[in-house]
Symmetry: C2
Amino acid sequence: MKILIVFAHPEPRSFGRALLDRSVTTLTSCGHEVVVSDLYAMGFNPVATGEDFTQRRFPDALQYDREQKQASQQHTFVPEIQTELDKLQACDLLILQFPLWWFSVPAILKGWIDRVFVNGTVYGAGGKRFDQGGLKGRKAMLAFTTGCFPEMMEPDGLLGQRDVILWHLHHGTFGYSGLQVLEPFVGWSIQYTDDDQRRAYLDAYEARLRTIEQENTLPTHTLAEFGPDWRLKPDVAPRTAGHRRSIRQG
Amino acid sequence: MKILIVFAHPEPRSFGRALLDRSVTTLTSCGHEVVVSDLYAMGFNPVATGEDFTQRRFPDALQYDREQKQASQQHTFVPEIQTELDKLQACDLLILQFPLWWFSVPAILKGWIDRVFVNGTVYGAGGKRFDQGGLKGRKAMLAFTTGCFPEMMEPDGLLGQRDVILWHLHHGTFGYSGLQVLEPFVGWSIQYTDDDQRRAYLDAYEARLRTIEQENTLPTHTLAEFGPDWRLKPDVAPRTAGHRRSIRQG
């Protein structure tokens, strides 16, 4: 497989960096082709602006997603974006690796998504989304470290259930773009773990990655399971953390 | 009330900007004191780094949240952060206003959260979180525009239920910090609406804000409802979108 790892951590001597290094070594030794976008090292700019396009369709007032659509057709993204978009389109598996900050990705990685998951290529352009998304046929995975304990992300845990916490990424970003989602890899409560536990996490990540190509993806719904009212058809049972049966009138 | 509006939109001629202007006019005319952080206009830097502190407790390797804790005690944040933190602590109501990008806030606003919702002041420091959070006694609200239609965020809608989509912000960011959460204000599918509909949204936002002080907040759980295992106590029924009863062994 071709694997793109997008890495967002401000500290090169972090445990997160050790996880990244182990993943690159492991995946390469398995014969995969690995590309890393190390956002902090690249000084990646996460702020979407009108400067992201070498030409503007609507120069008077920025409509960011419409400019993305135009740039997808005309190849008028600035090089910083086009380079990342090329990596994304070339990959079979996308791994986002980061410390979980405020139940989500660090801003530098959110900005990579805002600027690189572009309208017209990754989604849009006549119904490209979910199983018809622009990245269909590819897989994606989150790999993150936390400050919290795993019990806190159980269904009745303090922080709420894991799949609800990650919904905006798993369903809203990966799923929406057509990526099939693998179970996340989580290094729990890293600042309270000792060296032995950290070595165990590195080994567990390595073991996981050695057979990543054979893993099943998480359940989702196809576009065809939704009606013209954008809601699950009456005979479809919800099978994700974010879908429930509406109680309808009449 | 003292109201802090944090605004993230790249285009000063946007409908989002019109909503902001209407909110400032309305709230001011009601006698509230309004402060706006217009992140794009400020050129706010969303990328958390070791440069965020004028002194470092651990200069060898950055542990961002531990440096935040130290800086909370020693007042050693760089002025850009301290200024925003002062505004946050001074407010009674926080409004985040933005276009919904990838089921979340734009990167520039995520970075405002990463850098300003600091360990030691907003949370942490001996159990400050949720109803004991550093921002307790204050309220918060999301005000956002979407590209999608409202049916898509119904419980059985294509994008999933609204409170699951927003969980990482409502529960994970506001709730965690002690903020009580108001219903969001949503301008649906703005790029497909005409001028009449946009005027109706501006009027609806104004009407909402005129009585915002009397509104009830969304249901949540108190820390006391969780046991020492960080899970809802057996007699507590889950009452949020992100908590369910675990099926336990034995």
